[in-house]
């Protein structure tokens, strides 16, 4: 099972691009370069109002990036397991193998992601698995409308922590798989 991190790297790079774009826009207000705001939603806005808008947008985008990183990680993990499970097709008789495989593929989509995370306890240390579950809790909180009455036990998980934790999780799986091949 070889998982790559290109897909999360791309999401994270997009986050950094937007973060700096917000910074540049905020600077255009503090330097009073109002010509840059022509025919945009910032036209005729005062610096204070625009800054508040941009700050809010930055926070929202940060949460959406956590959501996108986790969703993408989850998809790749399920796909990786799905490919591994296709070995079931080799069961004889083939017709039975194919049906078992079809059922298994559908079932993998229903597995709880927290259980999938634990599936990798042979390769990924408890610290990283624990962090992944905390990110999952935060991700669920965002995805379910950020209920202020039901805060996650860990709040303000940023894109950097999410990116690093996912990358580390994948690194540890790949490291383990490589060591099995070498043995």
């Amino acid at each position: 099972m070889n998982l790559n991190t290109d897909y999360i790297l791309s999401i994270y790079q997009n986050y950094l691009t937007v973060k700096d774009s917000i910074k540049v826009t905020r600077r255009s207000f503090s330097k009073e370069i109002s010509i840059l705001h022509n025919r945009t939603i910032f036209e005729n806005l005062k610096s204070t109002g625009a800054n508040q808008m941009l700050e809010n947008a930055g926070k929202e985008f940060s949460d959406l990036t956590v959501l996108a990183l986790f969703a993408s990680f989850e998809r790749h993990l399920r796909d990786g397991i799905s490919i591994k499970s296709s070995k079931l097709q080799e069961i004889i008789p083939t017709v039975l193998g194919n049906r078992i495989n079809e059922l298994a593929q559908k079932e993998i989509e229903r597995w709880q992601i927290s259980e999938i995370i634990e599936l990798f306890d042979f390769a990924v240390d408890g610290n990283v698995r624990g962090k992944m579950k905390q990110i999952l809790e935060y991700r669920n909180w965002i995805a379910h409308g950020k209920n202020p009455g039901k805060l996650p036990s860990i709040r303000n998980v940023g894109p950097k922590t999410t990116y690093e934790t996912i990358a580390n999780f994948i690194d540890q799986i790949n490291h383990f798989c490589a060591s099995q091949v070498n043995d």
């Binding site: 790297l9 994270y12 790079q13 950094l16 973060k19 917000i22 910074k23 540049v24 905020r26 600077r27 207000f29 503090s30 800054n51 930055g58 390769a123 990924v124 240390d125 610290n127 990283v128 962090k131 905390q134 990110i135 805060l151 996650p152 036990s153 860990i154 709040r155 303000n156 998980v157 940023g158 894109p159 950097k160 922590t161 990116y163 690093e164 934790t165 580390n168 690194d171 540890q172 490291h175 383990f176 060591s179």
Partner: protein, 156 residues
């Protein structure tokens, strides 16, 4: 509120006080003429419920905002608290890390060379406030005077 959480909040506020004091000392060392204002702030987190802390706002003598430090939370993944350093154009996060090794360790370190490189690269974590460098290969260096002044440029 549970005693354990009260102790955490007290410790977080002590660490924030020390951070504010340190930053003001750095500004004085660099002969920055500034005014400061500390004000109360209520944060709410799931383990504790609402609790009191305080923010720091620093202004130039012309009353132009230089930066603010706003507490964000105590229960943070991989850290013992986080504050935001805010300026006119953006924010940077500072987290409190306890002494110890890097937070991410591969299960097996294959060679002494790898061990040295990894330790050198990740650093042996020194207790205190660290800057979360959001760049892809960015780490979490200990907040020093040089880093602080570089961050002021980034957020303004």
């Amino acid at each position: 509120m549970k005693e354990k959480n009260l102790a955490k909040i007290e410790l977080f506020n002590k660490r924030i006080d020390a951070l504010y004091k340190q930053i003001c000392e750095w500004l004085e060392e660099e002969n920055v003429d500034f005014d400061k204002k500390e004000s109360g702030l209520t944060l709410t987190e799931a383990p504790s419920g609402p609790y009191e802390t305080k923010r720091l706002d620093v202004f130039t003598k012309d009353n132009e905002k230089l930066f603010s430090i706003v507490p964000y939370g105590i229960w943070i993944i991989g850290a013992e608290g986080r504050v935001e350093l805010e300026g006119d154009s953006g924010e940077e996060s500072l987290v409190y890390l306890s002494a110890g090794g890097p937070s991410f360790i591969m299960k097996e370190i294959e060679s002494e060379k790898e061990n040295i490189i990894r330790r050198k690269f990740n650093g042996s974590i020194k207790e205190g406030w660290h800057w979360v460098d959001e760049q892809i290969i960015g780490k979490k260096p200990l907040l020093t005077k040089d880093i602080f002044f570089a961050l002021l440029e980034r957020i303004n």
